[in-house]
């Protein structure tokens, strides 16, 4: 049930049908709450294993009540308590082993509950939002099964807007059709594309440890580098397609998490198009307040851009280390922070050297954008090695080739990604330019029905033929 399986899709569709028996907020909330409890119950059969998660939720609600009752001075302590409880329950390796709970317990969904709870605490603590969050609504918001496993991170106000109203977002045949098409697309991405990409990448990892001619080894190195970002995209965005479609059928509009991520022409743009709700959360609650605090203290137009670079580094370092509890995620965080901050530094330097208008023209140049797209892809692929590999695997991979050859592999991926992504953009634009009287032919109802049917059949064929369980959703582990 925590994968993009048939069972999950049918469960979601059944809940959506039940939810639509009435538009009443009470009925829809009862259905959502019971469905979320059933969902969690299907993931673990041991009630004791849920106690730490229940404790975390109670701690969050206790802090929230304290802030709601005017104890604003407790905001920092509340945030620290929640952060500590999170890193302790997730067993981050910098904490002593003896301090951890020594029984198996359930942490699935904890990361995304963590973001939602912190969001509520910060908004209540800053004194602007004068609202009461009831315990029932708090549980509904934090345990919502559509966002439980891997997000997207929905804001409380947006959740309440759709859920706690008797006039929820409308649902008609066209909207239902679009959501069904999205379900098929998401299912195909996770169960066919991601599965094949993962198999090819795993094969390349195995080949790296074997004796073989250099040209084949270089090809294996390129595959293990370049295939993982594509696998991760299909795995994660496919699952997000499923949950957004299911939620919309339940009349809840979840925020989008991906927006043509690999079309981004630089690292900074990429992070506003990839895992968007996570980036937006960190921008709202880390980057903005940190930069504002620094700029209030240091008032200098010369230094300001460098404060921005520093804040980018801190923000994306934290984004990186959130992904895991071991030291390799510290390296992933450092590389992610480095990529974004060097990108910002480059923009600052070029703007100062060329002037704003000339830099703006350069940034629009198709060739410059194509090389930027390729560079972003190759950099992301490189940083992800510390995301998917364990320390032994990483050591083995880098020991298999000399640093110069690795540099060559990276350059080849940069160049290949530049050409292939540019061709993709050109092809997409050309296809979208074919229009009927109703708009682009590619996005017409008939085209959608044809390709959704084809993807659905292909997904059924491959899942039945290979008889393999749906691949795990990578982000459920975080």
């Amino acid at each position: 049930m925590d994968t993009a399986s048939f069972q999950f899709v049918f469960f979601g569709l059944a809940v959506a049908v039940l939810s639509n028996f009435s538009r009443s907020r009470v009925w829809r909330s009862v259905v959502l709450f019971v469905a979320s409890l059933v969902f969690i119950g299907l993931l673990t059969h041991d009630p004791v294993s849920l106690l730490p998660l229940a404790g975390f939720l109670l701690l969050g609600y206790g802090c929230l009540m304290a802030l709601e009752h005017g104890w604003a001075r407790l905001m920092v302590w509340s945030i620290l308590a929640i952060v500590f409880a999170y890193v302790w329950l997730k067993k981050y390796t910098f904490l002593p082993e003896q301090s951890f709970l020594h029984f198996p317990y359930f942490t699935l969904g904890l990361s995304y509950i963590f973001f939602r709870v912190l969001h509520l605490l910060i908004e209540s603590g800053d004194g602007v939002e004068k609202r009461h969050v009831g315990f029932g609504v708090y549980l509904l918001y934090t345990l919502n099964f559509t966002t439980f496993v891997s997000g997207p991170i929905q804001r409380y106000d947006d959740f309440v807007r759709d859920q706690l109203t008797n006039e929820p977002p409308p649902l008609n045949a066209a909207i239902v059709g679009l959501q069904l098409e999205r379900l098929v697309r998401g299912f195909f991405k996770v169960n066919v594309l991601a599965m094949f990409l993962q198999a090819y990448q795993q094969d390349a990892i195995l080949q790296m440890g074997e004796m073989m001619p250099l040209n084949l080894k270089l090809y294996a190195a390129a595959r293990l580098f370049a295939l993982y970002p594509l696998f991760l995209y299909c795995n994660f965005s496919g699952y997000i397609d499923l949950v957004i479609a299911i939620a919309r059928l339940m009349r809840i509009t979840l925020p989008e998490n991906f927006n043509r991520s690999f079309s981004a022409a630089c690292v900074i743009d990429f992070w506003s198009q990839w895992h968007m709700t996570l980036s937006s959360w960190f921008k709202s609650y880390v980057y903005n307040p940190l930069l504002l605090a620094l700029m209030r203290r240091i008032s200098s137009l010369t230094i300001e851009p460098f404060l921005g670079v520093f804040c980018f580094f801190v923000t994306f370092f934290l984004v990186g280390i959130w992904h895991g509890r071991t030291s390799q995620f510290v390296i992933y965080g450092l590389l992610t922070g480095l990529g974004v901050s060097v990108n910002k530094l480059w923009q600052v330097a070029l703007t100062q050297a060329m002037g704003r208008k000339s830099y703006k023209n350069l940034a629009k140049n198709p060739a410059y954008r194509a090389f930027g797209r390729g560079l972003n892809f190759s950099w992301f692929a490189f940083t992800l090695i510390w995301f998917w590999g364990d320390s032994k695997e990483i050591h083995g991979i880098f020991a298999a080739l000399s640093p110069a050859l690795w540099l060559g592999v990276w350059a080849a991926i940069w160049l290949s990604a530049t050409i292939l992504l540019a061709l993709w953009e050109i092809t997409r634009a050309a296809l979208l330019s074919l229009k009927t009287s109703d708009g682009p032919m590619l996005t017409s109802r008939y085209a959608r029905v044809v390709y959704a049917s084809a993807l659905g059949l292909a997904a059924l064929f491959f899942t039945a033929l290979l008889s393999q369980p749906a691949p795990g959703i990578v982000y459920k582990a975080f």
């Binding site: 800053d126 903005n288 504002l292 700029m295 851009p305 704003r356």
Partner: protein, 78 residues
């Protein structure tokens, strides 16, 4: 301070921060202005805070989507 005065003051601030003549209107947002990135957004917020002698909270800054919302916030505070 009425809305007209707020828009007039904001027009001066936008021109100063973005070094360009900008027609400030309620629908104006970051995608409409060259150079309105996350860094200049904070510079803009700070300049507005100083000009109107107000302070925005973290959640308010995070939720701002266009100038109309910004003006409504300033109006409520100033």
């Amino acid at each position: 301070m009425d809305e007209q005065q707020i828009y007039a003051r904001l027009t001066e601030i936008f021109s100063d921060v973005f070094d360009d003549d900008i027609q400030v209107n309620p629908e104006l947002s970051a995608k409409d202005v060259d150079g309105w990135d996350s860094l200049s957004h904070i510079r803009l917020i700070l300049t507005i805070e100083r000009a109107f002698k107000i302070k925005f909270s973290t959640s308010e800054i995070g939720k701002l989507e266009n100038v109309g919302q910004l003006v409504a916030l300033i109006k409520a505070r100033a």
